[in-house]
């Protein structure tokens, strides 16, 4: 009897589950709301300012689409809204925190930031947050034994004696190119919080050789993104004007062979024209002779 009762209870539970789970799924579908993705990052820039970027997207049919014109609320260390920014055509909302702005710190000495999308008729709410410590990244460019060397060091700010080197943290060195960044060095800071990379000797720069060198701590759990950059004429000057022969198809003066060929052709043809015109003049002169 006991067994049969267990069987009955089990079978009823199965029936209930079979009935209600699809019903719940249908109910969920019937709301018609999708879950957007909100990415939230912080980049500490060269001038000490911090750029907070919230990116709101939706993933449909294996393609990510930006959500344009949605309001993103920014919370900076408090429960109150610090700013509300509307997403641009790329689905991004930017908030720039100028140098000197003091933000509340938590017990670990980190600044807690949060971005929240409140949702709408078709999208559910989304939020994303991070907590980062402040870090300083500095760069110096030196010629060491005729080798162009990029030196960077990073530390947590404090009093002079209290500054803590970011030992062991990864760092990347880039050079800005036309469409993207070219990585020229990667590694970790040493115990002194220093890292050096050799700058390539043959990297093309602008007309005067200027290149923009960028050092970055990227997607660091503790420090977020920290960047420092400097423009310096270490590149090979690029000559985008005509090179090589000054007599070419693309220069102002035509190639010599072309000038010679054209001259011969035109002289030959026009020479014959002149010859024939002279013959016509002689024909006319002959008629005048006859009249005389």
């Amino acid at each position: 009897m006991k067994q049969s009762l267990k069987t009955v209870i089990f079978s009823r539970i199965v029936v209930i589950l079979l009935v209600f789970i699809p019903a719940l799924a249908i109910a969920q579908e019937s709301t018609g709301k999708e879950d957007p993705t909100l990415e939230f990052t912080c980049l500490k820039k060269n001038d000490g300012s911090k750029l907070l970027t919230a990116t709101l997207t939706i993933f449909r049919n294996r393609v990510t689409y930006p959500i344009v014109g949605s309001h993103i609320a920014f919370f900076l260390g408090t429960d109150t809204v610090s700013a509300v920014i509307t997403t641009n055509p790329d689905g991004k909302a930017y908030l720039l925190l100028q140098l000197g702005l003091v933000l509340p710190l938590n017990k670990e000495g980190k600044t807690e930031c949060m971005a929240r999308f409140g949702g709408n008729d078709s999208l559910n709410t989304a939020e994303s947050s991070f907590a980062v410590m402040d870090a300083v990244l500095k760069m110096s460019l030196n010629l060491i034994d005729s080798v162009k060397t990029v030196a960077v060091w990073a530390f947590q700010p404090g009093n002079k004696q209290d500054s803590i080197p970011l030992a062991g943290e990864p760092v990347n060195i880039y050079v800005s190119r036309m469409f993207s960044l070219l990585k020229i060095g990667e590694g970790s800071f040493d115990d002194q919080g220093r890292f050096t990379a050799e700058f390539p000797a043959d990297l093309p720069g602008e007309a005067d050789g200027t290149v923009q060198i960028i050092a970055r701590i990227e997607d660091n759990e503790k420090y977020g993104n920290v960047e420092v950059s400097q423009s310096y004429p270490w590149g090979v000057p690029s000559m985008h004007g005509p090179t090589g022969s000054h007599r070419a198809l693309w220069t102002e003066i035509a190639p010599m062979w072309m000038v010679i060929t054209l001259t011969i052709l035109l002289s030959g043809v026009w020479g014959h024209y002149i010859y024939v015109i002279i013959q016509l003049i002689l024909i006319k002169r002959e008629s005048k002779k006859l009249k005389l």
């Binding site: 693309w250 000038v259 043809v269 024209y273 016509l280 024909i283």
Partner: protein, 445 residues
């Protein structure tokens, strides 16, 4: 020695030179109306800009360029044919050589005008001369066409000279109007066929006939190189120079046959332009048509077999969007005239002329298929552009100017046929051989 006499021929052709008939006036008015319609189209284009044409950023060349290539081709064909017929002293050339010369001159006047219709910024036109870059194929073309224009006029003037002198000398008998007498006297520059004058003229004509053949080949090759030296699919081909020359001669021979049919019918020249002339020129058309077919096949075969991405796209487009035009241009336009001429039963004057007409239309379409589909197949993908900007189709303005060009071609032929006999009298009368006489030698020395 010829059985024809100057006086006899001039008397026979006198009605042609006399007052225009009613038929002549009707056709003249018809072509004049077409021309006026074209001028209205031009006025619309000048006042509203190129937006009234089908040309846009992608397809920057359309029917105007097609007409330019077509008329220039006809002109070079006329020059080549008249030069070759003259130099080789082909006996049957005599009744038709003037037509070939006139084809050269009239087409050469009309062709370059179509280039002007393409230009949006007329004020920049003098820059071609002020700041010429001889590396540019466009500058080659300007130099070539102007050189050719001068050469053709000299050549045609030389071939007209003797007839002008005949008309001047027989003005009384032909009862010509005073202004005509003055015109013929002025143009005849005192030519009286003295031994020295004959010799000077004979050598001048030979020199110019040889020159005109070379110039025609070079100039039309230059026109082909405007396309060939670019990297555009369908254009970048080493074969384009000779291909254009052959295509030009093919279309020009077709125009010659049609004109022979027209003038034979209008001026009753059955005694001069006989079936044998049609057959002879028809055989020429057959041979040139075979070459044209061979060149076309060779060009498309190598592109198709190579399957370079853009060439493949272009050929797919030709067989998809332009299927019937392609078939007409490259199959019907080649095979039909050849079949007509190959079979004796089909080889009648009307059939040969019909085949020639098909040739002309096919060659016009051929130029259209060279210009437009290539421009509709650019290397960079066309994005966010309206379909009517990507695909080209001629507007009424372009068609009105096209028909105006054809009308001017007919009008000029009608006018010239009233000024000089459409059959060269001097050619018919003169012997082909020039005999240097001792006294001439002494006179020249």
């Amino acid at each position: 020695m010829s059985s024809y006499t100057t006086e006899g021929l001039l008397t026979e052709f006198a009605p042609q030179l006399a007052r225009p008939s009613k038929n002549w006036i009707t056709w003249f008015v018809f072509f004049l109306l077409l021309f006026v319609f074209g001028m209205y189209g031009l006025y619309t284009q000048l006042t509203k800009g190129h937006i009234v044409t089908g040309m846009r950023d992608n397809v920057v060349w359309g029917i105007y360029i097609v007409n330019f290539i077509f008329f220039m081709g006809v002109s070079y064909a006329g020059a080549l044919l008249s030069g070759v017929l003259h130099l080789f002293k082909t006996s049957w050339r005599k009744p038709i050589i003037r037509m070939t010369e006139l084809i050269t001159m009239v087409s050469l006047i009309i062709g370059p005008v179509f280039i002007l219709f393409c230009i949006g910024r007329f004020e920049r036109l003098p820059y071609l001369i002020i700041f010429p870059r001889i590396q540019s194929p466009i500058v080659w073309d300007v130099i070539a066409i102007s050189t050719d224009l001068v050469g053709c006029f000299i050549f045609i003037y030389l071939s007209f000279l003797e007839d002008m002198a005949h008309l001047r000398d027989n003005a009384e008998a032909l009862n010509l109007s005073p202004w005509r007498r003055k015109l013929y006297k002025y143009l005849a520059i005192g030519y009286t066929a003295t031994p020295i004058q004959k010799k000077l003229l004979y050598f001048s004509r030979n020199v110019m006939a040889a020159m005109i053949i070379a110039i025609a080949i070079i100039v039309y090759s230059v026109l082909a190189w405007i396309f060939g030296v670019t990297l555009q699919p369908g254009w970048h081909s080493t074969i384009f120079g000779p291909y254009f020359v052959i295509a030009a001669v093919y279309s020009g021979t077709g125009v010659l046959l049609v004109l022979m049919w027209v003038f034979r019918r209008i001026y009753h020249l059955e005694n001069y332009i006989k079936k044998q002339h049609f057959v002879n020129v028809g055989v020429l058309l057959f041979i040139i048509g075979a070459f044209y077919g061979y060149f076309t096949f060779s060009d498309y075969l190598t592109k198709w077999y190579g399957s370079a991405r853009m060439d493949k796209l272009l050929i797919d487009k030709l067989f998809r969007n332009y299927y019937w035009l392609f078939i007409f241009s490259n199959y019907v336009g080649v095979l039909l005239p050849m079949i007509i001429i190959a079979f004796r039963r089909l080889r009648t004057i009307n059939n040969i002329s019909f085949g020639a007409l098909i040739t002309i239309l096919a060659l016009w379409v051929n130029r259209y298929l060279i210009v437009v589909p290539t421009l509709e197949t650019p290397y960079l993908p066309i994005q966010d552009t309206r379909l009517d900007w990507v695909r080209y189709s001629g507007t009424w303005v372009e068609w009105s100017l096209t028909f105006a060009g054809i009308a001017v071609f007919c009008l000029l032929f009608m006018i010239i046929s009233k000024l000089v006999p459409i059959i060269a009298v001097s050619e018919m009368v003169e012997s082909d051989e020039y005999v240097v006489e001792d006294d001439v030698e002494s006179l020249l020395s």
